[in-house]
Symmetry: D2
Subunit: 375 residues, 4 copies
């Protein structure tokens, strides 16, 4: 089988998650190419070496530029902090390499658009890691909507709330640096926005409110030196969809007690759907016209009748885990790179998500509705 | 024991619910006065007669004015459509009678304020039927907040969604008539607004979006004649609380599949609460500082340790029902009328709720944030 | 309307609950007779007097015999500890009075049968307070089974577990006195057995295991004097139904953390049902033959389409409470006494339940399956 | 790093699941040896070849004997139908190879014991695939029990119910052939028995009831020829633990609607635990002594504070999937083979589980309690 050399930049949470997915995909899916873990780059050469060993990469380097230039690397996989994406992505485009980049693609929509255009001009293929879109049960939700089972879409209620920054003693990190773009709305909000677009279609306008609840944080764990937080940690927005539906979008990384409240509720004229990533192998569905005295929400459990599930297990109810979603993403990427359905979500879709993020922030700053077209 | 003659105007869903509560309260609570079901008025004398028999009232009348003037009636209980409240309430005030009125008090805040002032000048006592405030488990939520157990309040996510108007074939009713005020945001939204105020304190400003999803409806069941719907049936709003917290408020009566999604989630700096009326004997509580590997949301079940529960049952987990909440409301009313803690929520509080309703509607019309102080 | 004088013996948890139900029923249901709270008896005349005042009874007495003989008392309502039932019931039968008795009817099946026969010979009507049978959503479960929607019955999994005796410091009470019959299996177990019979039909045989987890308890709160516990506090049994289904029955009053785990799961050849009193306005239903990729358990919410619900509220999802179930029971009683559907469950049904209780205990003692016919 | 050649016999559901786990483990855990997918055997050489390609094995064979003899194979991994285990395992023992075998180890306890003894005499290491034991949240449950947080164990309520055989049209398969041992109690029941032993300790005696609900099935999909089913498809048992606790065990593969009801509830003298594989990243915990009005079950979400979770994801609430449990099992296996904590559950533990299965079946046949020591 044809092989594809993967060059991974970054070896943190997401770098590791990508490596695991590249290793797992070939044993689960019939793939057109076989990914090989060729080269891993991290800013510190020693860290890179150790990470390469641990994650199963053949070689390591302290230079991401060397990685991009490496002949054996066919796919550049970027999992660094956001502010570094642009330079790396541009270099990869210049080298004619296909690109797999973690979300958010860029700190703002303008940069994202520049990358979209550069990639499209160069003809390189791209994908951005919005892995929650790959959940079979969310694919089912999309299928239910498309089939008309819940009628015309009228309402959306979406949130992504976690509590990993809830403790004021949690120190500064790159996610809090404005160089990486907005805060919770960019980091977590982009997930629920991508889901909103996937399920409901284009967003026309938003009206947002951003808050910085924890005003300053230690510069490092245990440090008494503090740095002011300039990005949002809790954000809400009203949203208007092109299809006519209305709704809300929320993001918070200071939602005490919440570990993974990435949830949506969708109202249609003839039914509704409810989902939370907290129980992400389940989808609640109610449809109009059920028999009297027997109506209610049905809890559908993910199983082999839903897209991609069967690759993991032939039996329903056995459940996928978080890493499995990434593995489905990698499958889609490899299929797309080999000429199948184009990789998706690509840079252009990531730009669309980023536009909504930016519109929420602009709206909050200006206290008014902001059409996405303005961004 | 001293007796209090109750005069009930209206015999629909809420009229019946009030009658049941007045009958039940004396057997459950040690009351300062004994309510007697003295007189029932409905617009049609025959309907009134039959309702009086069914609900256990001693007498009936086709004239609500006669009811208010009746010597045996000490408390005027108004459960008619909203647009009728003003005239009745003014007459009761004029007659020096205490008043128990269903929510919303008035079609708009201006009218509500006029009634507040008239009642206060006349010195009559008032109460408005926001019965969900009387839930022992919500009283517990308030107590938890007040005690500081979840720290400073930072976020609120509230909704009241039902589906009783989801079917476009459901005909026009008084709730759809603009004479009664806004639609879903007034009818259902006022419940979640009253809860928001009860738990979070004053609201400073809102930014809303109202929608009329079902544009026209049959004028009567099965009729082919249609009437345009002018009020909202699905509304969302951003909200700023005086305490600094931010959040969202939503209301819909076209939320297919939802029977009673009156729900709130409250984020504090050191914990959080989650509640839904769908399981209204339960409260979820998470607090900071739980032991490692053992942290999580606790599901507290209503029991005799929570306010008012024990009157219904000495054992926890046996559960209160919807009518029981109304019975607690009646208890509070009777205690207040007899000189105990003043009846609450009173007309003034109902006006505060109505101001928020009106502000959401104004905000939606003007596409901007509206301070409550403007209303 | 014809009146029925109620004479209540006992004023504890259940006495109060009965009084509340008698007060509530006439305002909710169209009843053939109007119950009047005529006379309340408690062993201590002062207690009786105070309870009568509190619960709304016209008169009180320290003599239950006087109550039974009282001309104004048409219905004798027995809510005393079990061991007292026999004498009272026999006296009521002798006086030709109809009887409403709390469960369990008697400490053992033999006594229960004697009372059944005496009542039937005398022609007095009887009812026993298995109020959980009156839940509209359980009535729905029965209707679903009867309709064949889940096919032939094959399995039953039932439990009633609470924790009100879990703390070893909780003192002795009459429920622990063997004079009142078995322990948890009689007190709580009789509820799940009555539900099992209601939903699944006759039980043919059981094989049980009884345990006394807390071997001794203080004789009174805080006392250092202890008394050995001779009855079971945790019991399990295998069960064979006449319909061919097999299953388990469990009862515990030492189930730490459980407040009201009265739950059943029913397997049929073409579907299944799951219920717990912890969320007793909900029923889960799964049926065979759902469309592919859309199958799952449906959560049906109690509403006006289900038996008796509408009397309490015209809107679905508003929820009944514990006391409402008792009120439905009282409705059935009054209708039955007036010549409608006979009151049910009657003494005979209570005897059937007691036979199963006794069979479990016998089985545990002898380490073998015990056919109910032996008891 | 040292390599370990894996020889896999069988390429069905479990064969594939093992291969996936062997591929995933090295990227997730720091392992002492690197497993290589050396050789795959299936009864049909063509099937073997295709499976080897698909699952990533270097070579394939139609002869499992050849696999066992192969020099490159250090670990023999058996995933065939149960009745084939004995011959394969004996051959592997004879060849001095370590063995990883799917559950159940053998059709009956006697055979299992013979294999235990043979393996122990030969000094080969063994492991049996009870993967649900590897769930971090169940490891947490065990830790909670061991720490005394819920006091002394008093009750257990366990079940494993699915519906994959609920449809009478589902044809015969090897699981229904008595040559592979009992039916549901062996196939699914062994999972809940292994969990019971893991959490509660040794079982002393059982009293069971086995049923064959679907008496005959098509010999093949769509065939009109039918074969009688001789094994149980629904079984219940009472159980006595050595620690003094009492409880129930249930197994069914005809539980319509259930996809993965592998659930346990554990009562302790000072708390309780509840778990279901349907939401297997959650554990419910209640402990005695919570503050008044604030007590309830806590829902603990799996996270990096729980054993093995962090290898998959550094963030809580992201969730493991079914395959991840197998990967943890493989980690334990590889660590054990390399001289770390011995692989567990080993053949001896599998024999203990099988004894309980056999005791349930014997008990059902004889209608009496059967001590495990008899088996």
């Amino acid at each position: 089988m044809k092989q594809l050399g993967v060059g991974l930049i970054g070896s943190g949470f997401m770098g590791r998650c990508h490596a695991v997915a590249f290793r797992a995909a070939p044993g689960l899916f019939d793939l057109p190419t076989e990914p090989t873990l060729e080269l891993l780059a991290d800013v510190d050469e020693q860290v890179a070496k150790e990470a390469a060993r641990r994650l199963g990469f053949a070689r390591s380097t302290g230079s991401w530029r060397a990685l991009i230039e490496d002949r054996a690397v066919g796919l550049v996989d970027v999992t660094t902090p956001t502010f570094l994406h642009e330079e790396m992505v541009r270099a990869a485009i210049a080298a004619g390499k296909d690109i797999y980049c973690e979300k958010p693609l860029a700190p703002n929509a303008a940069t994202a658009l520049a990358l979209v255009e550069a990639a499209e001009v160069a003809g390189v293929k791209t994908m951005v890691g919005f892995n929650y879109l790959k959940n079979p049960i969310t694919a089912l939700a999309r299928e239910i909507i498309a089939s008309g089972e819940i009628g015309a879409l009228i309402g959306f209620r979406g949130i992504h709330a976690e509590d990993y920054m809830a403790d004021p003693a949690t120190p500064f990190s790159w996610r809090l640096d404005p160089a990486n773009g907005p805060g919770a709305i960019g980091d977590l909000g982009s997930h629920i926005i991508s889901l909103a677009r996937y399920l409901m279609g284009d967003i026309e306008a938003v009206c947002g409110e951003t808050t910085t609840v924890v005003a300053e944080r230690p510069v490092a764990p245990g440090s008494s030196e503090r740095r002011a937080v300039e990005v949002d940690d809790q954000t809400q927005a009203l949203v208007r969809f092109a299809c006519g539906a209305r709704g809300t979008l929320e993001a918070s990384w200071v939602a005490s007690g919440r570990k993974m409240q990435l949830a949506y509720e969708i109202s249609g004229s003839r039914g509704s759907l409810a989902f939370t990533q907290e129980r992400f192998n389940e989808l609640k569905l109610s449809t109009a016209g059920q028999s009297r005295g027997r109506d209610g929400y049905k809890t559908i459990i993910a199983g082999p009748d839903h897209p991609a599930y069967e690759a993991f297990c032939p039996a329903p109810g056995h459940q996928l885990g978080f890493n499995d979603l990434k593995t489905i993403e990698v499958r889609d990427l490899l299929v797309g790179l080999a000429g199948g359905s184009p990789p998706w979500p690509d840079f252009r879709e990531a730009w669309q998500v980023q536009r909504v993020v930016d519109a929420v922030v602009a709206s909050a700053a200006e206290g008014r509705w902001v059409p996405i077209a303005e961004i």
